[in-house]
Every structure is written in structure tokens, then in C-alpha cells.
């Protein structure tokens, strides 16, 4: 490593290298973060002239009292709980299976990862067609095993499930890759030692693989939770610019979008963004606290 000490001259030089990135980041990331927090407290705001005539907690009170926002939070939580655990477990299983084979394993990786590179909007159109109640593939397959047709996209009882299934399908590949890397990094000596100690393959799995994979499992869960809390594109595209039937798929970001884009309630939208930030922060902290007890580094 270099042991030079920073000087005024070297700092100026570094600043020149950092400048393009700094200008963009400060204008479009750091300032907006501060601005969002401030905006959420503006109660009378004229954005054309950027004049604030009153501040207070009104926006948060409005959110607290808005049944639609409650619905958005509820739907988002159901979505997160529906998507993340299943994605983590399924991708772990697939990664474990892929790790056992050599022949065709490259082909399988390519296939499982494919949804990740495709446009969410375009693939949501395809799923919209798959979920078609009369001619869709889903109901056709269900019909083969004797299940009656389901109105996936028009029945509020099923539309959130439809969104969850599609999202699991789209997210699997990314997590499989991370698990595969994690499996690759496990030192083979651990398995040999366990074998010498007489552990069978099931015991080796539970006592070697699972604990040593726990940092990846943690990473995948945190990534998944954060990503799922921000769900928007899928909803918009799957339901053709609607938050599902009877708002059954209204999520927090969709709520933010509606308040901001459709209703021009900028400050209320900003408040819902701030709420989302703290919700994600809280859940991430809980996960980190849990991981300190259960993740083996």
C-alpha cells in the first residue's frame, strides 16, 4: 500500500478527478435526499416558485389518516413476506442442485438468469397474457389438474398473488448466482473434516453448508427485502397503469407515484418517501441485529 500523506496539492488533484462525479451526485442524490426530508414537512408549498409558506407535520398526519396509505403499506408488507422467503429458499435449493452437476450446468445458469436481464415492463405484458382468465396459460395448466379458472388480474383476492408469483420468477436468477458464488467459496477442507468425524451428507449440509453460507443468505435476504419494498414497475405494467383491481396491488411506491405524478401533491408524496426510507431502515436494522446472532463470518 502507499504510505503517502495527503497534502493540499494532492487533495486538489484528487478533487479534479472526483469533480464530474461529485457534481452529479450532489445535484441528483445528496441534495435530493435533504430536499425530500425538508419537503415532507412543507405544508404550503408552491413548487413553481419554490416558496414555502408553512411547515409542520400535516403530511404525516394525512398519511396516518389515509386508508389508502394503510392499504399501500399492508399490500407492500404482504408482497415482501410473500416474495422474499420463497425466493431465498428456492434459489438456495436450485444453487445447491446446480453445484452438484457439471454437464449442462452452464446452460441451466443461463436459463435461470434470463429473466433478470429482461425489461420488467415487457415481461409483465407476457405475464398479463399468461394470467388471462379465458385464454391464459396459467388457467389452462391449472385446468389440467382440475382447478377452476381464476381471475388472476381482476379478482382482488388473487391479484396480489399474481404479482408475487411473477416477481419470484423474475428475481430467482440473481440470487442463484450469489448463492453459487458463496458455495464456491466454502473451503473443501471443512467437508473432509466433517467426513472424517463421521458426519453423513445430511449432517454435513446442516452443520457445514448452511452455517458457512449464512453471510450470503443474509445478503440475499437484505437485498430482497429492500428491492421488494420498492416494487412499482411490475405493478404498473402488469395491471396496465392501475394499482390492481380495487387497488389490491397498491404499494407504497405506487402511492408515492400517484400522489406525485397524478395528483401533484408533491409534499405528501415526499412524506410517503420518507416513511418508506424509515421502514426499510428499520427492517434492515432488525435483520442486522438478527444476523449478529445467527450469521457466521
Amino acid at each position: 500500500m502507499i504510505n503517502e500523506k495527503p497534502t493540499i496539492k494532492s487533495t486538489l488533484k484528487a478533487l479534479l478527478y472526483l469533480l464530474p462525479m461529485l457534481v452529479v451526485t450532489i445535484t441528483f442524490s445528496i441534495w435530493p435526499i435533504i430536499s425530500s426530508f425538508m419537503m415532507s414537512f412543507y405544508t404550503k408549498y408552491d413548487y413553481y416558485n419554490d416558496k414555502v409558506s408553512a411547515i409542520g407535520f400535516d403530511n404525516f398526519v394525512t398519511l396516518w389518516q389515509d386508508p389508502e396509505f394503510h392499504l399501500a403499506v399492508r399490500n407492500t408488507l404482504i408482497f415482501v413476506v410473500g416474495v422474499v422467503p420463497i425466493t431465498v429458499i428456492l434459489s438456495l435449493i436450485i444453487a445447491l442442485l446446480l453445484n452438484q452437476i457439471k454437464w449442462l450446468s452452464g446452460f441451466f445458469r443461463t436459463v435461470y438468469f434470463l429473466p433478470f436481464v429482461t425489461s420488467t415492463v415487457a415481461i409483465a405484458m407476457v405475464w398479463n397474457w399468461i394470467y388471462h382468465s379465458d385464454y391464459g396459460l396459467m388457467n389452462y395448466f391449472l385446468g389440467l389438474v382440475g382447478i377452476h379458472p381464476i381471475n388472476w388480474l381482476t379478482d382482488p383476492n388473487y391479484s396480489l398473488l399474481a404479482l408475487i408469483i411473477m416477481s419470484i420468477w423474475k428475481n430467482l436468477g440473481f440470487n442463484i448466482i450469489l448463492f453459487l458464488v458463496g458455495l464456491n467459496n466454502i473451503d473443501k477442507h471443512y467437508y473432509q473434516a466433517a467426513e472424517i468425524d463421521g458426519a453423513n451428507s445430511w449432517q454435513r449440509f446442516w452443520n457445514v453448508t448452511i452455517p458457512l453460507l449464512s453471510p450470503i443468505t443474509f445478503l440475499v435476504s437484505v437485498n430482497g427485502v429492500i428491492g421488494s419494498f420498492k416494487v412499482f414497475d411490475q405493478v404498473y405494467a402488469l395491471f396496465g397503469g392501475q394499482p390492481g383491481p380495487a387497488k389490491a396491488d397498491l404499494t407504497i411506491v405506487y402511492y408515492l407515484f400517484e400522489k406525485f405524478y397524478t395528483e401533484n401533491k408533491y409534499t405528501l408524496a415526499a412524506a410517503s418517501g420518507v416513511f418508506l426510507f424509515f421502514l426499510i431502515l428499520l427492517v434492515t436494522l432488525v435483520q442486522m441485529w438478527y444476523s449478529r446472532k445467527h450469521v457466521h463470518y
Binding site: 478527478y17 445528496i30 379465458d134 458464488v181 408515492l256 408524496a269
Partner: protein, 273 residues
């Protein structure tokens, strides 16, 4: 014997999974080549009697997809090149140069990665409308010209480059600038390829911001245009699937050619981050 049997079971399970992953794509392409009446046949037909390649031309002309395509290409290329340029410079400063406040600045940037980007949309919209950039290419490009994810990944690679190479270049009289572009960047080709491909995919597929930042039809990118097309065209599924196919195809081709870089990039950034 038991070992052989378990191998067979593994292949069967993986194949079932792979088919599940592929069915939506197959169904998309299959539908895109059907006639209208064929799309609503029960039970569904997988291979149409006569392949209706004309659907692709019909879909392409049913909306200004050529314009959308150009917009997507321009936005993706400029965003990616710009992002790469700002990130390479910043990553070099973080990995090689000494300056006051380095760690603090790095922590601030790491912190911004934790913020949900959706929060930033409102202030960014306000800023860009003041600058008169909404509904122009600038609005679709400028906010994305920096990516801390890219800086972070490149910094990892730059740091792993042996110091001796740097000092050897210095002794040969190379400036930092020259060392960066003629030695370090070529040496880091595979990481740069990885972050480039990820940036291209992200930019090409992005939806929420282009939806918000464009008003007029001729400024739409492909995903926004495709979304508008479905609302306008109703339920002609064969055309819709043809349109979805040509939105998806460029990234699938890119992925097929560069997948080893993409996967390496994700593992590198994902694990360290």
C-alpha cells in the same frame, strides 16, 4: 446405483425449473407468430400453422417504435459512457490518490446507496423542470451520469492492481492521467466490461423515471412506449407479444455474448457490497 439415481433426480428437478423459467419466453414468441384467432384457441397451440412474421412489422408500425428505439439507444449509450467516465475518474481518486476527507466522503457515498432512489424522484423532477430539461434527452440522462455502485466495483479492482506497476509507470515518466488510461483501464478490462453491461441493462430497462420525465410521444423510451402501446392497442395479444419480443431481444443477445462478465461482476460487487 444410489448415486446415479440422485443425479437423475437432480437433472429432472433442474429441468422442471428451467422449463418454468423458459415457458413465458416461449409463450411470448409463440403468440407473436400466431394469427388473431389462433391466440384464443383452447387448448393453446404452441407452434402456429403458418408463422406470422408479419406481426412484427405490423407491431413495429402500429406505434412509433422506431423513434422509441432510437431514444432508448441514445439514452442508454450516453448514460453508460458518461457514467463510466465519471466512475473511472472517481474510482482512481479513491484507490490511488491521497486526499483530506477521503474516508468521510466514501462513507457518505456508501450511505447514499442505502436511500431508496424512488425518494429522489420528486426533488429531481423539480430541479430538472427549473433547468427546463423535462421532456428532453437531458432529463433522461443527466441524473444517471454517476453511479456509486460502479465507482465501488471499479475501486475494488483498481486497488487490487499491484503498486509496483504504478511506480514503474511513474519511473517511466507517465503522469497519473496517462497511467490511468493507458495502464490501469486496459488492465481492468473485465471489470469494466461487467459494470458496462450492468449499466446498459439498467438503463435500457428503466421505466419509472422515463415515464415521469417525458410527456411527449417522441421522447418515450422503449419500455414507456411499450406500456403506452398496450393501453392504446387494447388486447391484440399477437402484436403485443411481438412488441415485447423486440424490446427484450437486444438485452438477451447482449447477455448471451457477455454473460460470463455479467455474472463475474455481480458476484464481485454483490459480495463486497
Amino acid at each position: 446405483m444410489a448415486k446415479k439415481l440422485s443425479k437423475v433426480i437432480i437433472y429432472v428437478l433442474l429441468s422442471v425449473g428451467a422449463i418454468t423459467m423458459l415457458v413465458p419466453f416461449i409463450w411470448m414468441v409463440s403468440t407473436s407468430l400466431k394469427t388473431g384467432p389462433e391466440t384464443i384457441k383452447v387448448p393453446p397451440i404452441w407452434i402456429p400453422k403458418v408463422l406470422q412474421w408479419g406481426n412484427y412489422i405490423k407491431a413495429w408500425n402500429a406505434a412509433p417504435f422506431a423513434q422509441y428505439f432510437i431514444n432508448s439507444v441514445v439514452v442508454t449509450v450516453v448514460t453508460t459512457v458518461g457514467q463510466l467516465f465519471t466512475s473511472i475518474l472517481a474510482a482512481f481518486a479513491f484507490s490511488r490518490l491521497q486526499f483530506y476527507g477521503k474516508n468521510l466522503l466514501f462513507m457518505i457515498f456508501l450511505g447514499t446507496m442505502m436511500i431508496p432512489g424512488e425518494m429522489l424522484i420528486i426533488p429531481n423532477f423539480v430541479t430538472l423542470s427549473k433547468l427546463g430539461m423535462i421532456d428532453h434527452y437531458a432529463a433522461l440522462i443527466v441524473p444517471w451520469l454517476a453511479s456509486f455502485f460502479t465507482v465501488f466495483t471499479l475501486r475494488q479492482t483498481f486497488q487490487a492492481t499491484p503498486d509496483q506497476i504504478y511506480y514503474a509507470a511513474k519511473i517511466d515518466g507517465a503522469s497519473d492521467w496517462k497511467y490511468l488510461w493507458t495502464v490501469l483501464v486496459p488492465m481492468s478490462k473485465s471489470t469494466i466490461t461487467a459494470v458496462t453491461v450492468l449499466a446498459v441493462i439498467g438503463s435500457w430497462n428503466s421505466f419509472m423515471w422515463p415515464l415521469i420525465a417525458t410527456n411527449s410521444e417522441n421522447m418515450r423510451t422503449l419500455p414507456v412506449g411499450l406500456q403506452a402501446f398496450t393501453t392504446d392497442s387494447g388486447t391484440t395479444y399477437e402484436l403485443l407479444m411481438a412488441a415485447s419480443t423486440f424490446v427484450i431481444i437486444p438485452m438477451v443477445i447482449l447477455y448471451m455474448f457477455l454473460q460470463k462478465y455479467i455474472i463475474a461482476g455481480i458476484s464481485k460487487a454483490g459480495l463486497k457490497g
